[in-house]
Symmetry: C2
């Protein structure tokens, strides 16, 4: 499958590399084609990896990952281009973390979320929020945390969610641990969870953890 | 132990009843002594249960539970009286849930929390945030959700936290599943988690669930 990955940070790199390992053709997108980090990534990964502008990556992808920082995602997606995203599954991994005021705080929360903002701004894209509740090493390798633990998806389009569920299964997530939280408005929950996640990370001394949901 | 429980809702009732079962003398506090729900509760529970004003309950308690709605907790605690709370462990179970705008949203979050507000307003109280991440049936009976799962405490005073940990152990929580998230500022995390919790409750169709933290 041809996949665009927007963002050159560690999340974009980790997801991009996993997708290439799984046999997908991945183009990493950044503000400007030729970005140094994106080129280094594409070279290190080899054959099926390439890089380009946000628009290049979105046009390349049959499915697109948003791995840009949440506070800048709308801008990055505008640059990617409305037409390049239309009728495509857009997996939104972004969190609106803001460390500028000492925080961390979220640049949007409570009455809105990045996932909702993106779906509103790009009504023709099929936005699925996923993977934003875990460190990227765990995203692409759930076995990095022993035991069974959970990943969450939400979005307004059921077929799009199903495609993302299949992709997550190919990452190693058992079907029973991929929890559907409903429509894209549930992004508000998984994004606000991040502040809790950060407190847990401090307490545990590692980002390599996750939660399992147990039911009564 | 003499314990004050502020609030006559289902959380206050459930925690109050459990405390009486465990042999404590519990006074439930409300805006005005003689509150119908508080009287009905005290009668149904029997001997070691009594009721009174917020101030009566706080004066009675060597330790005090805040089970009032988060958006009204400061007001309830003002009525309880600064002197009646001074140098006492104040277990804050409140969540600032606001359903007034269709939400749910939180009436305070991101840059502040109920736990922090209370500690700032009552600097002589030893505020420990705990139990606000689970349904009250699970709070007092962790076995209501099969398997091992977690409860979180945070607060600025280590001895106060230790007292709360012991109380939680008497509720049935295993020591290893009581996670210390540090100072009271971590309330921001456990309160913002509530929006995620509500989405999970919708998806699972029951409030009887909890999360277990797994570490890599």
């Amino acid at each position: 499958m041809k996949i665009g990955v927007l963002g050159t940070g560690v999340v974009g790199e980790t997801i991009g590399s996993k997708l290439v390992q799984l046999g997908h053709e991945v183009r990493m997108g950044s503000r400007q084609a030729g970005n140094e980090k994106a080129r280094a990534w594409a070279e290190s990964v080899g054959g099926a990896a390439s890089e380009g502008s946000f628009a290049d990556a979105a046009a390349h992808g049959e499915l697109v990952f948003n791995c840009t920082p949440g506070a800048h995602s709308l801008e990055a997606l505008e640059a990617a281009g409305r037409d390049n995203l239309a009728r495509k599954v857009l997996v939104d991994v972004a969190n609106p973390l803001d460390f500028s005021t000492g925080g961390p705080t979220l640049s949007v929360c409570n009455t809105d979320s990045v996932g909702e903002q993106i779906q509103r701004a790009f009504p023709d894209a099929l936005v699925v929020k996923a993977l934003n509740t875990i460190n990227c090493d765990v995203m692409v390798d759930p076995a990095a945390v022993p035991g069974e633990h959970d990943v969450f998806v939400c979005g307004d389009d059921d077929d799009a969610k199903q495609q993302v569920v299949e992709l997550l299964r190919s990452f190693g997530w058992p079907a029973a641990r991929i929890r559907d939280l409903g429509g894209i408005a549930s992004s508000r929950g998984t994004e606000m969870y991040l502040i809790f996640w950060l407190k847990l990370m401090s307490a545990l001394g590692t980002p390599h953890f996750n939660v399992a949901v147990l039911r009564g």
